[in-house]
């Protein structure tokens, strides 16, 4: 890691920042300049190893860095100024915290002598970002700057990954001091446990060998652990013959074309995945955290199963759901041991699993993702199916915003590989997808990067179209335009007597003209039979594209576990009549979200 020439060299704080980025293998930084980071920008100007991607808003820089990180497995880096620059970074920091994304955020700060004086563009950055980072630092001594940045990268990328902030006052950027290269001397208090306890893994394998109705429930932790973890997960599924489902964050770790795949689980998961979760006798949770969108009503969650939980974060164990066999460690390391032990000791009795697979086949036959095709209007599910069919053979990365379109994308776009699916799962940040697509495209310049968007979400960070044009990032923004905040409207129908309070956008911009105004390319499609050609046009244009896909305005997202209900009380599309929707959630459920 260490670069010989940089050892113990005297340099300014600003030089150290750039040197530290280089020494930590950073190629791209997403940022926005301002008064308190000008010395660092001056250094960036005078070199070309680290490329700076200028965004249009600091939130965009954060989500772009998140997309970059999620698609590469490396840390994403953002650089913003003090005050408003730092406060605008708060949303992506919390987003990265909830989805465990390694994000290094460097912020400028007013000079140390002015801290606390309500100086121009001053804010308490470490105070504001303390609860939305894994850790943060205010560097007051230039001689500690390099070591702090190295430590920041270490903390962000190891253990359960997450966002970190290094706040650097302007006088520290100007001051001269000695640079130290990265070295393996992490602080003693931070020692994430990566190797799982072998006795526990043995107990897990024994329990799995006795299972007659097993299910593997995997999550984003598998993706975070790296490609080898996904590989081992596939091996484990093949060896055991167990069915597998995944959270929103874990899509792609096991291929959607795999024969043991049940589809996503949870609130908008498939019937077969949720029913199998409810009825299983052994559940193997791998790198997921029993989120409330996954479990439904906790008191009715998988009542008859023994649970194995693999997680790198001890606080995830027994947080929401009690686990019989907890295993703390990195998913990849634990799976390595688990696969090895299974090979050595357990023999799969695939026959014993037949009745379970037969039951699953019956659930599968309910075809819970079905929808009514329409020849005049584009159904949103159809739009995603066509998008999938026309792009699946390509080097494709998908990002999303948040809402109905996100769930339809998760249901109908099928992922074969990890790191191909970037979405805001935990925080549910509308406006994530467009800048995330920019970040992915910067990391993978020749790939096809598509943001499956909603008309409401995409307007939250639309300004980054301008950044995409500037940096020749030909991202495709595929907008399922129903003129509603669809998921808000769906909940208003379910919970609030169909009173659609402020969920309809009355003054929609002309997305085609908007694309052209930014210097991109605009496409509009309103008819199902024109969709394929329009998608092909979108793929072939080497420019950022806004694709205004006009879809059925009142379509809702099913299947669905309504609030306060259990996995086996799903609302299926063919049962979702207006009346059923209106009565799906009882008075008690209405208080929930």
């Amino acid at each position: 890691m260490s670069n010989g020439q940089s050892e113990r060299r005297e340099m300014t704080g600003a030089e150290m920042v750039v040197q530290a980025l280089k020494d930590n293998g950073v190629k791209h930084v997403f940022g926005y300049p301002g008064g308190a980071v000008l010395p660092i920008y001056d250094e960036i100007f005078q070199q070309d190893e680290v490329e700076h991607i200028l965004v249009r808003h600091e939130q965009g820089a954060g989500h772009a860095a998140e997309g970059y990180a999620r698609s590469t497995g490396k840390a994403g880096v953002m650089l913003v100024t003090s005050g408003p620059g730092a406060t605008n970074a708060v949303t992506p920091l919390q987003d990265a915290l909830m989805d465990s994304i390694p994000l290094v955020c460097l912020t400028g700060q007013v000079p140390t002598s002015l801290i606390g004086s309500d100086a121009f563009q001053e804010c308490d950055t470490v105070g504001i970002t303390r609860p939305c980072t894994k850790h943060n630092w205010l560097v007051k001594d230039v001689n500690e700057l390099a070591a702090t940045i190295h430590e920041a990268f270490h903390v962000a990328t190891t253990g359960r990954p997450g966002p970190v902030v290094v706040d650097i006052p302007k006088d520290v950027q100007f001051a001269k001091g000695f640079y130290v290269p990265p070295q393996m001397a992490p602080r003693t208090s931070y020692q994430p446990k990566v190797q799982g306890d072998l006795e526990r893994i043995k107990a897990a394998v024994e329990l799995m060998a006795t299972a007659r109705k097993p299910i593997i429930y995997s999550g984003g932790g598998v993706i975070n652990s790296g490609p080898e973890a996904s590989h081992l997960l596939r091996e484990l599924v093949d060896l055991t013959g167990f069915p597998i489902t995944s959270t929103l964050m874990g899509l792609g770790a096991y291929p959607a074309s795999g024969k043991n795949w049940l589809g996503m689980l949870g609130m908008h998961g498939t019937y077969e995945a949720n029913m199998a979760m409810h009825d299983c006798d052994v559940m193997i949770c791998i790198g997921a955290r029993f989120d409330d969108r996954i479990t439904g009503r906790l008191t009715a969650f998988s009542p008859n199963s023994k649970k194995i939980h693999i997680d790198i974060d001890p606080s995830s164990i027994n947080k929401n759901v009690h686990t019989e066999v907890p295993i703390i460690g990195d998913v990849g390391r634990v799976l390595e041991d688990m696969v090895r032990l299974w090979r050595a000791t357990a023999k799969t009795d695939k026959k014993a699993l037949y009745p379970w697979w037969e039951q699953i086949a019956k659930w599968r036959a309910r075809d819970s993702l079905a929808y009514k095709m329409n020849n005049d209007v584009i159904m949103p599910q159809y739009a995603i199916q066509r998008l999938y069919e026309l792009t699946k053979g390509m080097d494709t990365y998908i990002t999303t915003e948040v809402g109905q379109h996100q769930m339809w994308a998760a249901q109908h776009y099928h992922f074969e590989k990890p790191n191909r699916w970037m979405t805001s799962g935990g925080l549910g940040t509308m406006g994530y997808g467009l800048p995330a697509a920019l970040g992915v495209q910067i990391a993978h310049p020749d790939a096809l990067v598509i943001d499956i968007a909603g008309d409401a979400s995409v307007q939250m960070t639309m300004q980054e179209m301008s950044a995409a044009v500037q940096h020749d990032a030909p991202i495709k923004i595929f907008i399922l335009n129903n003129q509603y905040m669809g998921m808000v409207r769906q909940w208003q129908q379910l919970l609030h007597g169909n009173r659609l309070s402020h969920s309809y956008t009355e003054a929609m911009p002309d997305f085609v003209k908007l694309a052209e105004a930014y210097g991109g390319h605009g496409i509009r499609c309103e008819k199902p039979d024109e969709l394929d050609d329009a998608i092909k046009e979108m793929i072939s244009v080497r420019k950022p594209v806004l694709f205004d896909c006009r879809v059925a305005t009142l379509a809702n997202c099913f299947p669905m576990i309504p609030s306060g209900k259990a996995h086996n009380e799903m609302l299926l599309p063919d049962e979702a009549t207006d009346e059923a929707v209106a009565n799906a959630i009882d008075a008690k459920g209405r208080e929930l979200v």
């Binding site: 303390r130 850790h135 602080r187 931070y190 008191t299 947080k319 208080e591």
Partner: protein
């Protein structure tokens, strides 16, 4: 359905709590660096945990280590979460639930002591009574003139509570308490 159901007080799928809350004393060993106390306190407020008492001071100067003693109240499940969440904080070295540890040793609770300074003003009979009771509680007088005393008292929280209650009618003016300092009995460290 009954539309008059009691609000759950919380959104999402919250199950009714059936476990009973308990008071536990936690010892947290941290790097003595700026912001570390804010991280610990912020964790408690942010996640809705209770702090009944908090004591903090540097205990190993050369190693820059501070020891935070927190008395908190929660169900066993929540107490386990608190411990794990504290352990996630980067400058936190160790977290020990002294109450759980004392149970493992077959003891009811760890050694817990608190110090209080108690100011009592008055003249005549009340003043004599205050001094007499202070003597009975082994509180020492650390400041006095003809109209007041300041007592220093050390002991379990309950003893200090009792002392304060007794002083109330005798001219209690103000109190300063340190919060609980605690260690487990026996030769082992945390």
């Amino acid at each position: 359905m009954n539309a008059q159901l009691q609000p759950t007080g919380s959104a999402y799928f919250i199950a009714k709590e059936t476990e009973k809350p308990e008071n536990h004393t936690l010892s947290v060993l941290v790097d003595n660096e700026p912001g570390v106390l804010a991280r610990v306190i912020g964790l408690f407020s942010g996640r809705g945990y209770n702090i009944e008492s908090l004591t903090v001071s540097e205990t190993e100067h050369e190693k820059h280590l501070s020891r935070i003693t927190i008395v908190t109240r929660g169900t066993p499940h929540v107490l386990e979460q608190i411990k794990h969440q504290l352990e996630r904080i980067v400058p936190v070295h160790r977290v020990v639930d002294l109450t759980v540890r004392s149970h493992e040793f077959g003891q009811e609770r760890p050694l817990e002591r608190e110090l209080a300074l108690v100011k009592v003003a008055g003249t005549g009979e009340a003043r004599v009574e205050a001094l007499r009771l202070a003597d009975a509680f082994r509180a020492s007088v650390i400041d006095a003139n003809t109209e007041h005393f300041i007592f220093e008292i050390t002991g379990k929280g309950s003893k200090i509570d009792q002392f304060i209650a007794i002083m109330k009618p005798l001219g209690l003016v103000e109190i300063c308490r340190t919060g609980v300092a605690a260690l487990n009995r026996g030769p082992q460290g945390m």
